[in-house]
């Protein structure tokens, strides 16, 4: 029998919370570990390997060094999975792209800012080929397991390409818009499982990014009719979705 496939986990600029979501699968990881070896996972173990069949890479690219690391990891990897919002859409790190680069560095590093050269935030796919995306801030454990199962079975993972409104209505929720809360669910990619935010009365803040063909113009119009200023509309969208041209041009 052939050797088990090898899995690796790496982080770029992020909070590493998506790796914790993987560990949160607890005993549900066991069937995967029977069929694959984790050779690199800083949050859980030490060790490394020269080649990875599947790499889960979280975090966004915010320095030239990140680009080099991403390319080096890509070169050792068969299937690269972008893990979480930072990796797939740049995540909240994209907020800095809408501020003066120097101001941002000074805010974080003060008079040592020159020691830490940085570049505008970008998702992994801006620099390397990404084979599978797992969206969300953080990712949800169910979707990680789903992707892992697909990889083990050798079948493609079909990520949802419809808005959050679909599972929200299926949950029987009263629309938050009708309660006076503008919710980004109308243009945000679904796939949150279990379906938490709107069911708990919290608006969707768009952490899974936009669906493939979003009507952001309609969303901005409807939000404006709702009484939001252009600036407020941009702020709603740019928390997670600033990387998209449709959103960047609202500024």
């Amino acid at each position: 029998m052939a050797d088990k496939p090898t899995l690796a986990f790496f982080s770029l600029a992020c909070c590493e919370g998506c790796q914790l979501q993987v560990l949160a699968a607890n005993e549900k990881l066991l069937p995967i570990l029977e069929r694959a070896d984790i050779v690199r996972f800083r949050e859980a173990s030490d060790g490394d390997a020269d080649h990875y069949n599947v790499t889960f890479l979280e975090g966004s690219i915010v320095t030239e060094h990140d680009i080099e690391r991403a390319k080096a990891i890509r070169a050792k990897t068969d299937v690269l999975v972008a893990l979480g919002a930072c990796a797939t859409i740049g995540g909240v790190n994209v907020i800095k792209n809408f501020q003066e680069s120097d101001d941002v560095a000074e805010y974080v590093y003060g008079d040592k800012k020159d020691w830490f050269p940085h570049i505008p935030t970008r998702p992994l796919k801006a620099e390397v080929q990404v084979d599978v995306e797992i969206h969300g801030c953080p990712i949800n454990t169910c979707e990680f397991l789903e992707v892992a199962k697909c990889l083990l079975m050798g079948k493609p993972y079909r990520q949802p390409n419809y808005p959050v409104c679909v599972p929200c209505k299926l949950a029987g929720n009263v629309c938050l818009w009708h309660k006076g809360v503008p919710c980004l669910g109308v243009v945000t990619r679904a796939g949150c499982e279990p379906f938490l935010c709107p069911s708990a009365g919290h608006k969707c803040i768009g952490c899974r990014g936009l669906v493939d063909n979003p009507n952001t113009e309609a969303a901005a119009d409807v939000m404006a009719e709702f009484g939001l200023t252009v600036e407020e509309v941009f702020r709603e969208f740019s928390l997670f979705q600033g990387i998209y041209d449709d959103v960047a041009k609202m500024k």
Partner: protein, 349 residues
């Protein structure tokens, strides 16, 4: 069976009697607006306490449809480690849907036809055969978005086993089927008197005067009006506001399209093929192998839904595809209205 009446005070006892040997689902209070306590939202759910039933409810996000055709439904279980050994999952239990408004009863009649024709759907039909429907007549429109009178769903001829008409302190009870007659046996009903009949007549007259036609043409002309509007610019104009979020479909009481996925067990030993409500408004609905998409444009998808609801389903099942309940308009954040669209296209031929 001659008409009967049930005292409102005896309703809970009847519901309890029904709950003793079957699942009873009905409308209950879901939530109340914090800043306006009179703004109550209702939902259809399995009753745990007969007292929770709210016959004064208005339209719910999802209707009683979800008990016959659940938003997510397991179809077949199979094994991956050994032979596939497929096991159909056809689950049903004796159920009463209590308080179904005329629009939803009409919608159920449409679903009955749609799921029964061509290749009959065993999952729907098994539940349907085990479900009794107790209708609840409406005295007045529940919302400005509704146009049930236009769509012929205000006076349903099928889709229910018993029809209740609330008339003050008493409820007028009419059994329409054998199943309905059996259900009514456990209610403390008495034969309707001449006074009851007069009250029933008064209800009917008030009902008729409370509802108004909203379309500038009769239902029978709708397919023709739609056909003549096929190339109208109206579709693109309306679609400019459409998010393609599918809420119009997922809340629709007659929509019956679904998408199928395989849910694989964590240990890869087997799986369950599952379906969930799909929506013709979603970007990928008409996408086929190879990536071709037959309704890539938002406007063509929106037009398709309006045609489904006003023409295609009617032609395929002989039953209305839209019952005029107004759920889709209320679910639409962009306030796209099927009623207003049907009015608008009459003027743009």
């Amino acid at each position: 069976m001659l008409p009967q009446v049930l005292k409102r005070n005896d309703l809970a006892a009847w519901v309890e009697a029904l709950m003793a040997d079957r699942t009873v689902a009905g409308p209950v209070l879901k939530e109340t607006n914090v800043s306006d306590p009179s703004d109550e939202k209702f939902e259809w759910t399995v009753l745990e306490d007969a007292g929770d039933l709210r016959l004064d409810y208005n339209l719910t996000v999802l209707g009683p449809k979800s008990f016959l055709w659940p938003p997510r439904q397991q179809l077949v279980a199979y094994r991956l480690d050994d032979g596939p050994d497929p096991q159909p999952l056809i689950e049903h239990e004796p159920t009463v849907l209590l308080g179904v408004h005329p629009c939803d009863a009409t919608a159920i009649a449409t679903l009955d036809t749609a799921f029964g024709k061509d290749i009959p759907d065993p999952h729907y039909l098994a539940r349907r055969a085990d479900t009794a429907i107790v209708g609840l007549d409406c005295a007045a429109p529940c919302h400005e978005s509704s146009f049930c009178l236009d769509m012929g769903s205000l006076y349903p001829d099928s889709g229910f086993d018993v029809m209740l008409t609330p008339m003050g302190e008493v409820i007028f009870v009419e059994a329409a089927t054998d199943l309905g007659r059996a259900l009514v046996k456990s209610a403390a009903v008495r034969p309707a008197t001449k006074d009851d009949m007069e009250a029933r007549q008064k209800f009917a007259e008030e009902k008729r005067s409370n509802f108004h036609y909203k379309l500038p043409y009769e239902l029978k002309y709708l397919p023709e009006v739609l056909e003549q509007s096929y190339d109208s610019l109206v579709w693109e104009a309306i679609a400019r506001r459409c998010f393609s979020c599918g809420s119009c479909n997922t809340t629709c009481p007659t929509c019956y399209c679904w998408d199928v996925t395989d849910d694989i067990a964590d240990d890869l030993s087997g799986g369950v093929r599952t379906r969930r409500y799909d929506s013709c408004q979603l970007d990928t609905f008409a996408e086929v192998a190879g990536g071709e998409n037959f309704r890539e444009e938002r406007s063509s998808r929106l037009r398709h839904r309006m045609f489904r609801k006003g023409k295609y389903i009617l032609e395929q099942t002989g039953r209305v595809g839209c019952v005029g309940c107004g759920r889709c308009e209320r679910a639409c954040v962009a306030k796209i209205s099927i009623k207003d669209t049907y009015v608008q296209i009459a003027g743009t031929r």
